[in-house]
């Protein structure tokens, strides 16, 4: 038998219009902790979904060899049966059920047709000991913290006697101490012969725990190297090393006076009020510039801007000044009134009322100003909407078209129109080009440049490094709720940004 417990050979997975994985080779030795790293969107999660059977055999090309046998899995049940357990970024526990019930969900211990609770609790207590959790097995999951829930997930995987454990960003929601505990448990498991695939953005953890590192980039394997032969610079270069192409209409802006100033901004996670998700952040944005905010998933970028917009967080502390005037923003309406607009990262979930037409969507945030004697001025809405349809080149047969029926790029332009209609001074764009095609992306970049010329200042969050480098005048890099670096675009390289984003000082 070979030294590899898992071999994924020439895996290619295509989605309509996108090649998510192309000829990926990924081999994991028995009993090692193997780190899988790469930028957002490099294909890590897709590869793991192929491995766990979420994308069943037949929907991808290539072969999976596990324990020396070619596996064709048609669902997650199959991968569990052969000993693969995956723990997702989003926790998959039933919160209303107890720890014991969750651990044995789908594998209930049955005696004479009924669940044997005595045995279930006994076995659960044993497993919880292994993950250093001192809890009553009958405790409901909703009473646990995120870190403890993560450990219950791991306990669940152990209960299935998995030989291969996959952890997808396990430490994203954990505190430092919880992370240490997690790494300790992984070492114990390793000593027992369990193999582990560890996906993480945090390079220090990777160097601390892993034996081997595989780097993915743009859906391809860049290389697999023993951790002992690796260093941070080398790893970052492997992660980002792609050529920059002319995909961005770079325009020289001349930033003028400071428009928005944020001082000592601290935000707590509303679900875990004791956890600081934004820690004492201060920055400023000038008139006529694009400020890019880079960072890895979970760094707190969206939480930062949403809290500035009055739409996120508890225990928010700090000060915001707009044109020197202190703002008191309690809810989105206050922010809109002050002249701040926020285009969210998920247009379908947070941006559009999909069942309503274009003109209803574009007017939604400015209705207050479009009312005469209590009656909405529909003619004015039609006039302004028509103007944006023309200015932003929204392709639609009429402004009575439902948002549902538009392409991603046109939907994004409708959301943009909605916020431009509020005549903002500060426009916050969260992943402005996510999931839209190259042509529409270029158009959105041009719109951004035009707005900056008109004196709007733009804050842009993006997970695509080329976009951050290509469009921003200045780049803030966030890491674990803090601003870990600031670079002018002229000095910025992908390596530098990645260095700060992974916690480099």
């Amino acid at each position: 038998m070979s030294e590899y417990i898992l071999e994924m050979n020439n895996i290619t997975k295509e989605f309509p219009g996108v090649k998510a994985l192309s000829n990926v080779n990924f081999k994991v030795k028995k009993g090692e902790i193997h780190a899988l790293v790469g930028e957002n969107g490099a294909g890590k999660s897709t590869l793991m979904k192929v491995l766990s059977g979420i994308y069943p055999a037949g929907t991808y090309d290539g072969e999976i060899v596990f324990k020396g046998q070619v596996q064709r899995m048609s669902g997650i049940k199959d991968s569990e049966r052969i000993g693969i357990a995956i723990i997702y970024q989003e926790l998959a526990l039933v919160k209303q059920m107890s720890i014991a019930e969750n651990i044995f969900l789908g594998n209930e211990i049955i005696k004479k047709g009924f669940i044997d609770y005595d045995e279930t609790y006994k076995r659960t207590a044993e497993i919880l000991k292994e993950v250093h959790l001192d809890l009553n097995p009958a405790t409901k999951v909703l009473n646990l913290g995120v870190g403890q829930q993560q450990l219950v997930e791991i306990a669940k995987a152990i209960s299935k006697n998995a030989d291969l454990l996959i952890l997808d960003e396990p430490s994203a929601a954990l505190t430092e101490r919880e992370t240490e505990n997690l790494l300790e448990i992984l070492r114990t498991l390793k000593a027992k012969g369990v193999t582990c695939i560890y996906i993480s953005h945090k390079l220090n953890e990777i160097f601390e725990i892993s034996d081997t590192i595989t780097v993915l980039r743009d859906g391809k394997t860049v290389g697999t190297i023993p951790t002992s032969e690796m260093n941070e610079d080398k790893l970052i270069a492997m992660m980002v090393g792609r050529e920059m192409s002319e995909r961005f209409p770079r325009k020289e802006h001349t930033p003028k006076e400071v428009v928005l100033e944020v001082k000592n901004w601290t935000v707590h996670n509303p679900e875990i009020p004791e956890k600081e998700i934004i820690k004492n952040v201060s920055f400023e944005v000038r008139k006529g510039e694009i400020l890019g905010i880079a960072g890895l998933m979970g760094a707190g970028r969206t939480e930062l801007v949403m809290s500035l917009f009055g739409a996120y967080g508890t225990g928010v502390k700090g000060e915001i000044y707009l044109n020197g005037k202190k703002l008191n923003i309690k809810k989105p309406k206050d922010a809109i009134k002050a002249g701040i607009a926020y285009v969210s990262e998920d247009r379908k979930k947070y941006g559009l009322v999909l069942g309503q037409d274009i003109k209803t969507n574009t007017s939604l945030a400015s209705l207050d100003r479009l009312v005469n004697n209590g009656i909405v001025n529909d003619n004015e809405i039609v006039r302004q909407t028509n103007k944006y349809v023309e200015d932003l080149n929204i392709k639609t047969p009429s402004i009575e078209q439902k948002a549902n029926n538009l392409s991603g790029g046109n939907q994004q332009k409708v959301v943009l129109s909605k916020w431009l209609m509020t005549e903002p001074k500060v426009l916050i764009l969260d992943e402005p080009t996510r999931g839209i095609d190259v042509g529409a992306k270029y158009e959105i970049y041009n719109i951004m440049n035009d707005l900056v010329d008109q004196g709007v200042c733009i804050i842009m969050i993006s997970s695509e490094l080329p976009e951050v480098l290509g469009m921003s005048d200045r780049i803030l890099i966030m890491h674990e709720g803090e601003i870990n670096g600031e670079i002018d675009y002229k000095e910025a390289t992908q390596e530098k940004v990645m260095y700060y984003a992974t916690g480099g000082k």
């Binding site: 739409a311 989105p332 809109i336 945030a365 039609v382």
Partner: protein, 399 residues
Amino acid sequence: MGETVINKNNLPVETVKRSLKVNIRQFSMIIALLAIWFIFQILTRGVFISARNLSNLFLQSAAVGIAASGVVLVMVAGHIDLSIGSVVGFTGAVAAVCLVNYNMSVGTALIITLIVGLIIGIWHGFWIAYRGVPAFIVTLASMLMFRGAIIGITGSKSISPNNAAFKAIGQGYLPKLNEALNFHDATALLGIVFIIAYIILELKTRKKRQKYGFKVLSNSLFLAKLIGMSIVIAAVFSIMVLYRGIPYAVLLLIAVVIIFTIISTKTAFGRYVYAIGGNREAARLSGIDIKKTNMTIFVLMGLLSTIAGIVYTSRLNAAIVAAGQNFEMDCIAAAIIGGTSTLGGEGTIPGAIIGALVMASLDNGMSLMNLGSFEQYLVKGLVLLVAVWFDIATRKKAA
């Protein structure tokens, strides 16, 4: 060769087609209503479509129609109101008690009743909007509580106000101007006023749109629309002109429909209601105050339930313990048959009125045929089921 490019969108046939497509739901409901009338006309051997019966039909649907207008707002925002029946019974009892036990004037009694309705609306709004209790639970609780409250204030007795002015609200007709005439002149006059008001409104809208430089319907098509709508208004009024004139309750219904159609389509509040029902998160991030909007919805619903309660009690000329039982189901069914989505985000008030007329027509027609409660409940239930299924099926096809 001519250089003129014909824009297909401007051809009259295309314009009509487009407008039909957009309003297909409304048109299919009107056609269904007319079909039901036609079937009953045959089954009742010509009794159904008579001035007398149709006048009664409108009167019968007035209370349900008034409350259903509020149900549209409630359901569009993604809520439900199960308490309407009990609130109708309770507010009716309040009015009756004020008139009989305290000898108040009709005006004072009505004002007190409306204030009670307002407080009930605020009570619902408080729990739903500011305490986050689902509307289903809050109004289910009210359904029980107000049923009990009726027993409390009436002492389980039937109270008959027997007050001419109060009775007129639910049973009375607009008086004739000239008693000698053999048709109802006041109603005819009102119909003409309505038609003139409609035409003036259309002309004004057209002028405004032209001022903005928008395309408007061609002259001939615009004229056809004016004439068509005027005929519809004239037809509805002439039914009542030929019988005893327009009932006060129907006038009240027309007023409620006009006011609430304006609220739901022409005010910022109305847009917020649809946005909250369509995508709550998008609405929140667009700066909409969801709590305040929900509060307002239930305050309006409380007022409309109360108006419906007054009409209902006046028509019955009695406040009884069982008053308004299952009334909320008729209102919800009317709204749903009229195109209101049970998931929120969609629905119109004119649609709900058509829905109320459909339900009332089924009641009325089957009563004329001497069918019992057994058949009536069976048919009404099936019609609700089939109407919603038809809606889902046609939507899937369109998507």
